[in-house]
């Protein structure tokens, strides 16, 4: 009987001793999870590239993503909002100072605290690329700069009219998918992002992310190459289409997300299947190092400050857990990263262009000229050479 009591007391004391140890383990695990995504701040670059009243829906698209992103915690100082036209104050807007996303004027995404950084004719390809790469003149105000660092997660959202491999800016110029990929590569080399989520809602949007080659990029598009993205619903009082289908359902999905939600990227990929969207949304994750299932929506759309209150001290001597390897792609070795050559001249010079068509051999031209000269001399005779030489 005594042994039984002694056993119980011993177990109880053991339990009491192990609780703080287990608790600090738990906290250390949580602390380890703090840095699992690797980012410390969030930025968003939201661009609407088309102007004119009948492109109302593109501005509404951008503003609804802006609204979600702001609601989930990213402040205006970390959002670069570029709108190519002013729909809210357009003369044709029967409800001035509003931009609606749902018909019957249910949701005004313009609100009363919108901060547009690039407006009207300032939305150009050059300005967009300068914002991304950071090559802005010193006089540019802070609100127009993307001041991200190597621990920033950036959300980039583009909408407008696009085609196979390009996006139209303002009816006068285009950005190609190659330019965009090179801009992202510049951002990578200058350590301007930790991870980047690229969403595009245009016709044939998937063509815009085909050329990406920098690491840590995840991309979503509203339609595949050869498909058109469709607009959602018109409002008869305003007289235009209010939203595009993909962003409409994206907005509906994001309205369910709150700062503490654990929804991940796989849920985002399921937004707007073909039955709802008519076009087939696409996504690209091969350049992304983490598994999309472990990437939270709020990693990109929100600015979540993780706080855990503890009364005990925590030993952070154990190193931070490395980023979770993607399962099934173990053969991709992640090498230590180095700077690439600024200008790989050797490669450029010695590289011959690939000849797809058959070209005649080079000696052919020489032979042709020889023939011409022979014919010339035969016609005019050698004796005339005397006059030349």
């Amino acid at each position: 009987m005594d042994y039984y009591n002694l056993m119980r007391i011993f177990a109880f004391i053991h339990l009491l001793v192990s609780i703080p140890h287990g608790y600090s383990n738990y906290v250390e695990t949580k602390a380890g999870q703090f840095f699992s995504s690797g980012h410390t701040n969030n930025w968003a670059v939201l661009v609407c590239t088309s102007r004119f009243w009948f492109n109302y829906r593109h501005v509404a698209n951008t503003l609804s993503v802006y609204r979600s992103v702001k609601r989930l915690g990213i402040p205006d100082s970390h959002i670069v909002l570029m709108l190519a036209d002013d729909m809210a104050c357009n003369y044709r807007n029967p409800k001035p100072a509003t931009v609606f996303s749902h018909k019957n004027m249910e949701l005004n995404v313009y609100g009363d605290d919108v901060e547009v950084d690039y407006r009207g004719y300032e939305v150009t390809v050059e300005n967009f690329l300068r914002v991304l790469t950071g090559r802005l003149p010193p006089s540019t105000p802070r609100s127009k700069r993307l001041l991200s660092d190597d621990r920033s997660n950036i959300l980039i959202y583009l909408t407008g009219h696009g085609g196979n491999g390009f996006l139209k800016f303002q009816d006068s110029e285009e950005i190609s998918n190659m330019e965009l990929a090179d801009a992202f590569e510049q951002m990578w080399q200058k350590r301007r992002y930790n991870e980047l989520l690229f969403i595009i809602d245009t016709c044939q949007g998937a063509s815009m992310y085909e050329r990406f080659y920098s690491p840590n990029l995840m991309a979503l598009a509203s339609s595949q190459v050869g498909e058109d993205s469709l607009s959602h619903q018109p409002d008869l009082a305003i007289g235009v289409h209010l939203m595009d289908k993909y962003t409409f359902y994206l907005l509906e999905f994001l309205e369910e997300v709150h700062p503490a939600s654990q929804a991940n990227m796989n849920d985002l990929f399921k937004v707007c299947p073909q039955s709802q969207c008519v076009s087939t949304p696409g996504h690209r994750t091969d350049l992304f190092q983490r598994d999309p299932g472990s990437v939270l929506i709020t990693d990109f759309f929100g600015s979540v400050r993780k706080v855990e209150i503890t009364k005990d001290t925590i030993n952070l001597t154990s190193p931070v857990e490395p980023p979770i390897q993607r399962s099934g792609s173990g053969d991709i070795q992640i090498e230590s990263l180095t700077y690439v050559d600024q200008l790989p001249v050797a490669e450029i010079i010695h590289q011959k262009p690939k000849q797809k068509d058959w070209h005649p051999p080079d000696g052919f031209i020489l032979g042709l000229w020889t023939l011409i000269l022979l014919v010339f001399f035969q016609t005019y005779g050698i004796k005339h050479l005397k006059h030349i030489f």
């Binding site: 009243w53 009948f54 003369y91 044709r92 029967p94 001035p96 018109p234 008869l236 007289g239």
Partner: protein, 607 residues
């Protein structure tokens, strides 16, 4: 080879048959344009106008009708345009109101006006866009006509003005214009607005920016059964097809019956009746376009590159009647869509034919019909050219150093040309200038004097060849008439070609009657028969046939005497249109086509 080419286009040869086949093909092609599988369905080309997605909320139909009654009462009291009442009514609705007085001297009194001087006033109110700069404008007009016509149009105009004033989504200023004396008033207003000052009008005081589109309303009854769209403008110019598409789209949305040329569209294109219906609609459009006058108040806007159309309400014998509120909603929808425009309408076709409101034939499809006719003239000319060169070849074959036979003297060819053109100038100038003299000597009114002078000069031209031959020294040679015919054929081809480019219907109708007689005209044909054929296919008789065909097509056939009176009134209207608005049909016929025809008449009586 020379001998072969010389006799290539004689009758009963391959070339001759080819030309006849060409002519028949042209006629068949033209008639086939109305066959529905050969036409295209109309569609909206302008992206900014999009579909008909607006919400129309106009509901003041009764107010429009009461305004119409007030307008009628004041019109009777004032005996013309009730200027003060209109100005007060427009000002009460918040428009900026201005008036324009105009006076115009007619070349001869028209049967409608019966006086030389026409005086009137236009009243227009500008609804300023609440937030937009004053750079663009739209115009809605209703004519102030004497009697019972168009009261409801003015009433609807004022009701719309009041409704539009309460909306804030206007990006362009809207001008509500009530013009007096129809086209004369409209001409005065447009000239004053655009500072063109051809006829000496002073510029307007109130202006609203460059006009993007205009709609003209004609409504004479409280209820209507259908709306008719009128597109043909001055000189056969047509507005952009998008305007017709817009009207048709809204008619379908609101369930309004809409017609063109007064004819309702049929669904049975594969039956004979269906085809003839479409062909009749198209022929009516061709005839209206060919006569070159503006068939609605909108016609004068087109010259200023303002797309305009007239909408006329028709009260027919159908069960389903629509009230003024529905028309108001239709106009509201159309104006709201035009408000969304960023540039002038330019995406759709400017040259087209409409066998019905939902089907169109574009210029690329109808021009080959004219091309086939022009080919006949050019082949004939080519044949003559080769023929003229062939005797020289024969001489060369025979004797190497033989002298070339002397060509016809320039005078022989130039004389008929100059005399024909002088006759044409006489036909153009004399009727109007000699009207006082004619009125003194004959018991006719001025209009009749002008018209009968024109007919007299035309007939006098027929006697020319006999007289000019007496004046000239030599007899006409074989070479002579061939050179003259060559010149005349090329001249005719160029004339008809240029006319068809601007006004396809006029060029085509003239070509259909002139090409067969001119291509086959030689002095060796039987004189009496060919003279009769030439006269029966001359431009004047073409106009007469067109009058009869037009009356048949609008289902109001006339007897011969009535047709003749109509023909005379058509001529007087043509001269008046030319003097007042610059219509080019009468000068074209008098100064160019008629002399050309006279040259062929000369060829007929060459020897």
């Amino acid at each position: 080879m020379g001998l072969f080419m010389q006799h290539l286009c004689e009758p009963d040869t391959l070339c001759h048959h080819f030309l006849m086949v060409c002519y028949l093909a042209a006629i068949v092609w033209f008639m086939g344009l109305a066959f529905e599988p050969f036409t295209l369905r109309t569609y909206m080309s302008e992206n900014a106008m999009g579909s008909t997605m607006v919400e129309e909320r106009f509901s003041s139909g009764e107010r429009a009708l009461s305004l119409a009654k007030e307008f009628d009462a004041h019109k009777r009291k004032a005996g013309g345009m009730p200027m003060e009442w209109l100005v007060k009514a427009m000002q009460a609705r918040g428009l900026e109101v201005f008036t324009q007085s105009f006076s115009r001297k007619l070349p001869f009194p028209d049967e409608n006006k019966e006086r030389y001087m026409v005086r009137g006033t236009n009243v227009y109110g500008i609804l300023r866009a609440p937030r937009a700069p004053r750079t663009e404008a739209l115009v809605i007009t209703a004519p102030c006509s004497p009697g019972n016509s168009n009261n409801q149009a003015v009433g609807l105009l004022l009701a719309l003005a009041q409704y539009f004033r309460n909306q804030i989504f206007w990006a362009k200023d809207i001008i509500f214009l009530v013009n007096e004396h129809d086209l004369i008033g409209m001409q005065a207003w447009l000239e004053g607005y655009h500072h063109t000052n051809i006829t000496g009008y002073s510029p307007l005081q109130g202006r609203a920016g460059s006009i993007q589109a205009a709609l003209s309303l004609e409504l004479s009854s409280d209820v209507i059964t259908s709306l008719d769209l009128i597109l043909e403008g001055l000189n056969g110019q047509l507005p952009n097809l998008d305007l017709a598409n817009l009207f048709y789209a809204f008619c379908q949305k609101l369930g309004v019956l809409c017609t063109i040329q007064g004819k309702l569209q049929r669904n049975d294109w594969d039956t004979a009746e269906g085809y003839t219906h479409a062909a009749q609609t198209m022929m009516l459009m061709v005839l209206k376009q060919a006569c070159g006058r503006s068939w609605g108040d909108h016609g004068l806007f087109l010259r200023y590159h303002i797309e305009a159309a007239s909408i006329r309400g028709i009260n027919g014998f159908r069960h389903y009647k629509m009230d003024v509120a529905t028309i108001g909603r239709l106009l509201e929808g159309m104006v709201r869509k035009l408000n969304n425009l960023l540039e002038r309408l330019h995406q759709s076709y400017f040259f087209y034919l409409l066998p019905s409101l939902s089907r169109f034939v574009s210029i690329g499809y109808y021009m080959p019909a004219f091309g086939l006719l022009a080919v006949i003239l050019l082949l004939r000319a080519l044949d003559l050219w080769v023929n003229l060169g062939a005797p020289a070849l024969e001489a060369v074959d025979g004797v190497t150093e033989a002298e070339q036979p002397s060509g016809p003297g320039v005078l022989t060819v130039l004389t008929p040309v100059v005399i024909s053109h002088l006759t044409g100038v006489a036909l153009y100038l004399l009727p109007v200038h000699l009207q006082e003299m004619a009125v003194e000597h004959f018991p006719v009114s001025e209009t009749e004097a002008v018209v009968l002078t024109a007919v007299a000069i035309y007939t006098a031209g027929l006697a020319l060849p006999h007289n000019t031959q007496r004046l000239l020294s030599g007899e006409g040679t074989e070479q002579g008439w061939k050179v003259l015919k060559l010149t005349a054929l090329l001249y005719l081809a160029v004339l008809l070609g240029c006319t068809a480019l601007i006004n396809f219907s006029l060029g085509f109708i003239l070509a259909v009657t002139l090409v067969p007689i001119t291509a086959s005209m030689t002095p060796h044909m039987p004189k009496a028969l060919s003279a009769l054929a030439m006269v029966l296919l001359s431009p004047a008789f073409t106009i007469l046939y067109c009058v009869f065909i037009y009356q048949e097509l609008i289902e109001a056939p006339v007897s011969v005497s009535e047709g003749w009176m109509l023909f005379l009134s058509v001529i007087s209207q043509g001269i008046l249109d030319h003097a007042l608005y610059g219509s080019l049909v009468y000068p074209l016929l008098a100064l160019f086509i008629y002399p050309c025809w006279l040259m062929f008449w000369n060829i007929l009586f060459w020897s």
